[in-house]
């Protein structure tokens, strides 16, 4: 975008100059311990926080050096935002460096920032083609999709999540402010999780408990088999500690849904609406006994939970770590409310896992009531291990 020499090269990094000040004044008081540093990024294994924003960006930086500066800038802002602390005092040299949305001493606010890259980043622009994660492709169009290209894909995906919406929006504004010249928002969508109603997993906007059966990622073996990038030599070395992130923006046709009988709703999901229990069980955590119901008299063979996770050894390997939020974004031309699910999942191999599940779900009865309109496939980068590390360092080294 600008000449390769002199200050112009980093012209998009509005924060680069201010960062010098931040680095001194901002640290005059020790920052509270941050979970930002680690082998893996935050916001992956963590249970979904109540508020989230997914923002996909197109990188407009022109060179690999500018791209590296962008990753440094995003890292710097994510580190500062997740750590909290008073923003630097710039005096009269410029407008206030912080929006003030969270008050004068910015609290960490339980924020996580999770960065992932899309397949398009590995095109011919930055010379990264040979480093593309082996299983990273552009998101397919599935038979039941109705994708809007302006809501799909992106070079970089940033996920912001926190207990409070102001924390999320403050972070989004801050990151955009510091990176305008290097990336532009392609699409973004906010989401929320509902508090337990009345207990257990949170409900989606169809009224059903969602994400009840996730793999147990407290077990390292499960994480290594289902979540983290393969370490068997099939992936480029820099991917260690990362994971594939699939995003699906799924509209729910809630008015239509509200007009169908409860029995039908429950047979479509395979769970009871009130309790979240599988239709052969009592509690939401009960494990469905499909072997006792081979022809689907209790839990239909075409029900969502049965297709998504048949609970047989052969499909164990296709389980994903699901992290979803509800979204609400206005009204369509026919006067119907546009709301639904901001579905994301993490996995070791999108083809073996997400796509396998998706293929099993093809033409399930639920597809009449939902309409996927956007999303993308991304690779969530390895974590930032310390203060001198930055997102994508091993990729761009």
């Amino acid at each position: 975008m600008t000449a390769a020499a002199g200050p112009g090269r980093r012209t998009f990094l509005r924060g680069a100059l201010a960062a010098g000040v931040a680095g001194t004044v901002g640290r005059a008081t020790p920052a509270p311990a941050s979970r930002f540093h680690g082998v893996h990024q935050a916001g992956i294994l963590d249970a979904p926080r109540p508020r989230a924003m997914l923002a996909a960006f197109d990188v407009i930086a022109a060179t690999r050096a500018e791209l590296t500066d962008l990753f440094r800038a995003v890292t710097g802002r994510a580190r500062a935002l997740t750590g909290g602390g008073a923003p630097p005092e710039v005096g009269v040299a410029g407008p206030p460096p912080d929006s003030g949305v969270l008050g004068p001493d910015v609290p960490a606010g339980g924020l996580t920032v999770t960065a992932a890259v899309g397949a398009s980043l590995f095109d011919d622009r930055f010379g990264l083609a040979s480093l593309r994660p082996a299983r990273l492709t552009r998101m397919r169009t599935f038979p039941n999709d109705d994708l809007d290209p302006s809501w799909c894909h992106g070079d970089l995906l940033l996920g912001f999540a926190a207990p409070d919406e102001d924390t999320v929006l403050h972070a989004l504004r801050d990151v955009c402010r510091h990176t305008r010249g290097a990336m532009q928002v392609r699409w973004r969508i906010g989401g929320f999780t509902s508090r337990p109603r009345p207990a257990g997993a949170s409900r989606n906007l169809m009224g059903f408990k969602d994400g009840v059966a996730n793999p147990d990622v407290t077990r390292a073996a499960v994480r290594d088999r289902l979540v983290w990038a393969a370490r068997d030599g099939s992936e480029p070395g820099w991917t260690a500690g990362g994971t594939y992130q699939v995003v699906r923006l799924i509209r729910m046709l809630v008015e239509f849904w509200d007009r169908i009988a409860l029995t039908e709703q429950e047979r479509i999901f395979g769970r009871a609406r009130d309790t979240g229990a599988p239709l052969d069980g009592t509690h939401e955590t009960d494990v469905p006994r499909y072997s006792a119901d081979p022809i689907g008299e209790v839990i239909p063979l075409t029900s969502h939970i049965r297709l998504a996770n048949p609970r047989v050894p052969e499909t164990e390997d296709s389980r994903v770590l699901r992290r979803a939020w509800n979204y609400d974004r206005g009204t369509d031309g026919a006067g119907n409310l546009d709301m639904g699910l901001l579905f994301t999942c993490f996995q070791q191999d999108p083809k073996r896992q997400f796509e396998a599940v998706q293929e099993r779900l093809k033409d399930e009865p639920l597809t009449d009531y939902i309409s996927p309109f956007g999303g993308g496939y991304f690779f969530a980068l390895p974590g930032v291990v310390n203060a001198s590390d930055h997102l994508g360092r091993a990729l761009l080294a």
């Binding site: 112009g8 010098g20 004044v25 008081t29 710039v90 040299a93």
Partner: protein
């Protein structure tokens, strides 16, 4: 500990005045007197880093307060109009060095408080040498001369547009519209710089009850609307005449118009803020598809503001080279959309081109914002 003090600020302000005097700079809020009689009293020494001074005005008139380097005159923080009897927090980033409080009561001469030694490893804000009206006057004179010249061009081109409409040659009128409009866009009349006259000349139909059909819709965009929507020459005669008259009135009235010295700095970022808000969103276009030409003229207009400020900004604004690079980048991206004598209409830009342009202008306004805070008029103590 800092945090606790600040949260409780309003409640303990009075107590803090008494406490801080003996506790020195504890890093929380340190009570400092401002006003004619006791300017800077209460501030004896400090450690480097981010500090909050609780400035209290015990006098009877409002006071403008600054934190300055008394030997170089640079300003590190400021608070305008601290009312009598009030206490307000003044946050300042202090590097090692010597500082003082500057007090300028509304009703009297400025006073500088005692010198304060600041030591320690912490970093501070960048001090800015203040600009006075006198410093800025030459820049305003140069700018004014350029606007006068630009208004001459504008009048000639708007007359040509009017004449083409009157002659009934609407092809010629369409050809004449853009040069005239760009002559206006280059003047950088952002955010009310030309007052009601500016709205009459370049206003949008927004805010008019009947929109584009409202009799109050006038100026360049009214004429544009007709020229690109098949209106008859006869129906455009009135709007074109009126536009030419409004432009003439602007030129004739300009010598009597005030340009405040501080306006130059504001305009440096507001011209492109305006372009981002009204042009790059497509809000102004009435059919000519020349939005990008307007933005290019706005970039020229920004340069025209910066040029006379340049000698003043050189040692006050380290971002200046990156602003220049950003302006060059924006110009380059915009010029690439002028091909074979035609500007690409905004809605024909590909996503990537669009994002690059949005990013370039967006980045520029971030940087230009500092021009306004640095080039504002400061009355030095």
């Amino acid at each position: 500990m800092d945090r606790v003090h600040r949260v409780l600020l309003p409640a303990i302000a009075g107590a803090a005045c008494a406490l801080a005097a003996c506790s020195g700079d504890a890093g929380g809020g340190l009570a400092v007197q401002v006003g004619r009689a006791r300017c800077g009293e209460g501030w004896g020494s400090a450690r480097a880093g981010a500090r909050t001074l609780l400035v209290h005005n015990g006098d009877s008139a409002p006071v403008d307060v600054t934190v300055v380097d008394p030997s170089r005159g640079t300003v590190f923080a400021e608070l305008e109009g601290v009312g009598p009897g009030t206490t307000r927090p003044l946050r300042v980033g202090l590097g090692a060095g010597t500082y003082a409080i500057g007090c300028r009561p509304a009703d009297g001469a400025a006073v500088t408080g005692p010198r304060v030694r600041v030591s320690g490893p912490g970093g501070g804000a960048r001090g800015v040498r203040p600009l006075t009206r006198n410093d800025l006057d030459p820049a305003v004179r140069v700018y004014r001369a350029r606007i006068v010249a630009g208004l001459g061009t504008l009048v000639r081109r708007t007359d040509a547009l009017r004449d083409a409409v009157r002659s009934g040659d609407l092809d010629a009128a369409r050809d004449a519209w853009l040069p005239a409009h760009l002559a206006y866009a280059r003047l950088g009349a952002a955010y009310g710089a030309f007052g009601d006259r500016g709205d009459a000349i370049d206003g949008r139909p927004a805010g008019l009850p009947d929109g584009v059909r409202d009799p109050g819709f006038r100026g360049f965009h009214r004429v544009e609307r007709g020229l690109w929507h098949g209106a008859s020459a006869a129906s455009l005669r009135g709007p074109a005449d009126r536009l030419a008259a409004d432009v003439r009135a602007l030129r004739d009235g300009f010598p009597r118009a005030q340009i405040d010295a501080g306006d130059l700095g504001l305009r440096a970022h507001e011209i492109l803020e305006d372009a981002l808000r009204f042009e790059l969103t497509g809000a102004t276009d009435q059919g000519s598809g020349t939005t990008l030409a307007t933005v290019a003229a706005n970039v020229d207009g920004t340069r025209m503001v910066l040029a006379p400020l340049r000698p003043l900004l050189a040692d006050r604004l380290p971002e200046l080279p990156s602003i220049d690079a950003g302006l060059a980048c924006a110009s380059r991206l915009l010029r690439a959309q002028y091909r074979h004598g035609r500007w690409t209409p905004l809605d024909r830009l590909g996503t990537v081109e669009r994002e690059r342009l949005n990013g370039a202008i967006g980045e520029l306004v971030e940087r230009l914002a500092s021009v306004a805070t640095v080039a504002t008029v400061r009355r030095t103590p």
